[in-house]
């Protein structure tokens, strides 16, 4: 019996022992798993904390304005530039970013700025105007003349990560103590004492909320809120809360209070600007008040702190009443806790919200241009670098030219619709403006609403180009050794071309008239289709395709005969590249939007250098350019001659496609090139020719962007010879219709026209009659 009980006892003990063993094992596994889990959370939170700490979007700058004696500059334009740079007009400027305008003189103190090639210190100088030119610039302190001053460039936007976050990073020491104290008394009163979570806070918060009959305090600590901000999911499950709490404890274990608070100040979500999330107090200050954090007054600080609770519910722009009530509650707590005095509270309480009307800071106002910059940079940088390294991107955008283009686009498109009786919003447009010799893109508009960041027609609008293609046909024909000159008579009789097997093509002129024969230069100036098609067929469509590629078009182009009249498609930016080569007299310069990229500390990363290539000899290009000038003097673009100021010589080409679906004008002055497209997104006829739709907009832009007259001085190797239009032969006194045309030396016809005979008396008579006719 005793044996039995002993055995049973022993068995029970053994069972108990094994149970304990099991429990210990389980506990051990549990601890290991928990430790692993905590380790995992630790890894996540520290990676997030370190990674987010310095994640900065790339900042994109416009071209800086350079000021120098002799420069053409209207005083009003300089004011405009300074205002756009947020320089302040003050009676006597002494601190950076201030100026004062006097009569014909302006004193400016520039902001220091780190450029690619040089660090520009702040400069205090006096600039004197002589009419609309800069007469001289002198240093304010020393009185020495300055030959060149470069202003800081305007920030035109940023490149943000996919979830479109933007921020203006602030350092702990730059943040006003008032903000920090207010934030702590409202959101986490024991921040400086707790270890990441604060059980007392929950109780206190509940009491405070009941007392104020509003939610004036939350239960989570700032550390917990920071963790929550890092992992932006909105589910409020218990396990998530637990994770948050563990991560908060870990953060506090790794980092000190200052570091955590600094991250919080830069991380907290404070508003929404359409697609852009506003994170951090630094950006919020600009977003709501258009000034930096350190310039905020108590009522403004209170509003920002108030927004932490619910940026969209208390959105001061949409729900002003709610925001005001909440702000005043915050002010009350601030006074109660001694952050501000009662008198300060009363003063702040009396103030309105004070938010600026529009929300414009950092986000681009020039979406079409930024789109191009982003595409260019994506070729060379990973998305993550663009959106987190705080790169400084220097671009070619000229804000003034851009604004002119935008204003003219809005004005002309609406006017065209009214004049043509088109339904509102029928027309769309795209404009691109560049410099000529160095191919810098000054302005881009991608649609009728320049602020709308949608379909970018300047880059993606592939449209038939119509007659814009013709200069390529004529350039091919005028190469040395082809036998064609500007005087060559081209056949203008009905023709039938086999465009593709079993597909006949019968080109017609715009007016339906066949003129028998026309001089080559007239065929281009008047944009006659039949002689152009005949010319193209004679020299070979494949040769024209080769010319187009040399002109800078990379797209695959099929050598169909209909190409000769522009049945192929191009985008406005491709057209701009094609015409740039003409404008630069045969020297192709790839169009550029980005000049250089720099790290935030000023280290250069990459420069996008100017490159040129001589794609064509100067002589044939000169011949085509003189015809493109004829287009605007007395060809299809003649309307420009009364739109543009006298003396502004330009060269260009109209383009119209079948059934008036697309209206184009492409052309240039000496220093400016512009391409304008007007049409309809559904490719429906809009009833506009190149001359009636795109041309007036082109002209209105060109006369407002400091265009200088195109220099038609012929290159060496060009001679001018009088030609009888009727015969295409050398004209002389005696001929009624003589034009002087440029020829590549040695290619002008040697034979005299029949009208220019040698009889001296008869020609003298005719000469006198001719002169009478001219001067009558």
């Amino acid at each position: 019996m005793a044996k039995k009980t002993r055995a049973r006892r022993r068995a029970r003990q053994a069972a108990r022992r094994s149970l304990w063993r099991w429990l210990w094992a389980l506990l051990f596994v549990g601890v290991v798993v928990l430790a692993g889990y905590v380790g995992y959370l630790d890894y996540r939170i520290t990676a997030q904390f370190e990674g987010k700490r310095w994640a900065l979007p790339a900042h994109v700058y416009a071209r800086p304005l350079e000021l120098y004696p002799g420069m053409a500059l209207e005083p009003a334009r300089l004011t405009e530039e300074l205002e756009a740079l947020k320089y302040h007009s003050v009676p006597s400027p002494s601190s950076p970013a201030s100026y004062s305008f006097g009569r014909d003189v302006v004193q400016i103190v520039t902001r220091p700025f780190m450029f690619w090639d040089k660090n520009e210190p702040s400069q205090n100088f006096r600039l004197r105007f002589d009419q609309n030119r800069v007469a001289d610039i002198v240093d304010e302190a020393s009185g020495t003349p300055l030959s060149l001053v470069r202003l800081d460039p305007a920030l035109i936007g940023g490149i943000y990560p996919s979830h479109n976050e933007d921020r203006v990073l602030v350092k702990y020491d730059e943040v006003p103590q008032l903000l920090i104290k207010s934030l702590i008394v409202i959101e986490d009163r024991h921040f400086n004492g707790h270890i990441g979570v604060d059980p007392r806070a929950i109780t206190r918060a509940m009491l405070a909320n009941v007392k104020a009959r509003d939610i004036v305090q939350g239960g989570s600590t700032l550390t917990q809120q920071l963790v929550k901000n890092y992992f932006l999911t909105s589910d409020q499950t218990l396990s998530r809360k637990l994770n948050e709490a563990i991560m908060a404890l870990l953060l506090e274990w790794h980092y000190d209070k200052k570091e955590i608070l600094e991250s919080y100040l830069n991380e907290v979500y404070l508003g929404q600007d359409t697609h852009r999330a506003i994170h951090g107090f630094g950006l919020a200050s600009h977003f709501y008040f258009e000034k930096p954090l350190e310039k905020l007054e108590p009522h403004e600080v209170a509003l920002l702190v108030a927004l932490v609770k619910g940026p969209s519910y208390y959105d001061p722009r949409r729900h002003g009443d709610r925001a005001l009530t909440r702000r005043n509650v915050v002010l009350e707590v601030m006074a109660e806790q001694g952050v501000i005095s009662e008198a300060e509270r009363m003063r702040a309480r009396a103030r309105p919200l004070g938010v600026s009307a529009s929300a414009r800071s950092g986000i681009t106002t020039f979406p079409a241009f930024l789109d191009l910059v982003r595409r260019d940079l994506r070729r060379d940088y990973r998305e993550a670098d663009l959106t987190s390294e705080g790169l400084r991107i220097f671009t070619t955008l000229d804000p003034r030219v851009q604004r002119v283009v935008e204003a003219k686009v809005v004005q002309h498109i609406e006017k065209l619709e009214r004049q043509r009786g088109l339904a509102a919003k029928t027309l769309e447009t795209a404009v691109i403006v560049t410099t000529t010799d160095d191919g810098e893109i000054l302005a881009i508009v991608g649609g009728r609403d320049p602020r709308y960041a949608g379909f970018n027609r300047a880059l993606d609008g592939v449209r038939q180009v119509g007659s814009l293609i013709k200069p390529a046909v004529y350039l091919t024909a005028l190469h040395k050794g082809t036998g064609y000159t500007l005087a060559t008579l081209l056949d203008d009789q009905p023709m039938l071309v086999e465009a593709a097997p079993d597909q006949m093509w019968r080109p017609r002129n715009y007016d339906g008239i066949f003129r028998g024969s026309v001089p080559l230069h007239v065929a281009l100036a008047q944009s006659y289709n039949v002689p152009t098609a005949r010319l193209g067929m004679a020299i070979g469509v494949d040769k024209v395709v080769a010319t187009l590629h040399r002109l800078g078009i990379d797209r695959d182009i099929k050598a169909y005969p209909s190409l000769l009249l522009g049945a192929n498609v191009l985008t406005p930016i491709e057209v701009a590249q094609m015409y740039q080569t003409f404008a630069a007299r045969g020297f192709r310069a790839p169009l550029r939007a980005v000049r250089a990229v720099m790290l935030p500390d000023g280290t250069p990363v990459k420069r996008y250098a100017l490159t040129v290539e001589q794609a064509f000899e100067p002589e044939p290009v000169y011949l085509v350019n003189s015809m493109l000038n004829e287009v605007v003097r007395n060809g299809t673009g003649m309307a420009l001659s009364w739109m543009l100021p006298e003396g502004l010589v330009t060269a260009g080409k109209t383009g119209t496609t079948d059934d008036y679906r697309d209206s184009w004008f492409a052309g240039f002055s000496d220093n400016r090139l512009a391409v304008v497209w007007v049409g309809n997104d559904e490719n429906r006829p809009v009833g506009l020719t190149g001359a009636s739709g795109a041309l007036p907009l082109w002209g209105d832009i060109m006369r407002n962007i400091d265009a200088e007259p195109f220099d038609l001085t012929p290159p060496e190797g060009i001679e001018r010879v009088p030609i009888d239009s009727a015969s295409g032969l050398r004209g002389g006194f005696g001929c009624d219709n003589v034009v002087e045309l440029p020829f590549i030396a040695g290619t002008a016809p040697q034979t005299l026209a029949p009208c220019a005979d040698g009889d001296v008396t008869r020609s003298l008579d005719r000469t006198i009659n001719f002169l009478k006719g001219v001067f009558e």
């Binding site: 350079e66 120098y68 004696p69 002799g70 420069m71 690619w116 090639d117 040089k118 030959s147 060149l148 410099t435 000529t436 010799d437 160095d438 810098e440 007299r585 020297f587 000049r595 250089a596 250069p604 420069r607 250098a609 100017l610 490159t611 040129v612 290539e613 001589q614 100067p618 007395n634 000496d670 220093n671 220099d711 290159p715 219709n737 003589v738 034009v739 002087e740 001719f770 002169l771 006719g773 001219v774 001067f775 009558e776």
Partner: protein, 180 residues
């Protein structure tokens, strides 16, 4: 008809004015003097840098004639670019010269300098293209044109195009001959 008349009138008036101005023409190259602070790099005489011996050697830049004498802003930039060039910082030198191009895009001298720095930077193709571009704006300034051809010759030698280099040197010799 009207436009034809207008054109003829312009033509005749134009021809008359050409005649008049032809009589009164003043040679452009009489007035110029070289600014003193003009980049010392250019003061190297050709004897110091025998073009034939060194592929990367570059002919000295020509004197500045009235045609391409730059304004003070561009002069300042050319000075700055030359200083960078001396330090061997070709990239920045090019960046500075590009600023000069923006201010005076049709200044033959600026393009010549760009060509030179590009050549020193090892981009012979750009150097040749920019030298040609310079010549396009050089008007009848034979010295600058010759300097551009010398530069093109160096660029071609750098790319082992000896025949092309000789041809370019030939062009330079013609332009440098005193009878021109």
């Amino acid at each position: 008809m009207d436009s034809y008349k207008r054109f003829s009138r312009r033509l005749i008036v134009g021809q008359i004015s050409v005649l008049i101005s032809g009589c009164a023409a003043i040679p452009l190259s009489q007035s110029p003097s070289v600014p003193e602070r003009f980049p010392p790099v250019e003061e190297r005489s050709r004897a110091d840098v025998p073009v034939e011996d060194r592929g990367s050697a570059i002919a000295p830049a020509p004197e500045v004639t009235a045609l391409q004498r730059p304004g003070p802003a561009v002069v300042a930039l050319l000075d700055d670019a030359a200083a960078r060039e001396r330090q061997g910082d070709y990239d920045t030198s090019i960046a500075v010269l590009e600023r000069a191009v923006r201010i005076e895009p049709r200044n033959a001298l600026v393009w010549h300098r760009l060509a030179r720095v590009n050549l020193q930077h090892g981009d012979a193709a750009q150097a040749e293209a920019m030298a040609k571009k310079s010549t396009q704006f050089a008007g009848n300034d034979a010295r600058l044109q010759a300097a551009n051809w010398r530069l093109i010759a160096s660029a071609r030698r750098q790319r082992a195009d000896l025949k092309g280099a000789d041809a370019a040197d030939g062009q330079a010799v013609i332009l440098e001959s005193p009878r021109r």
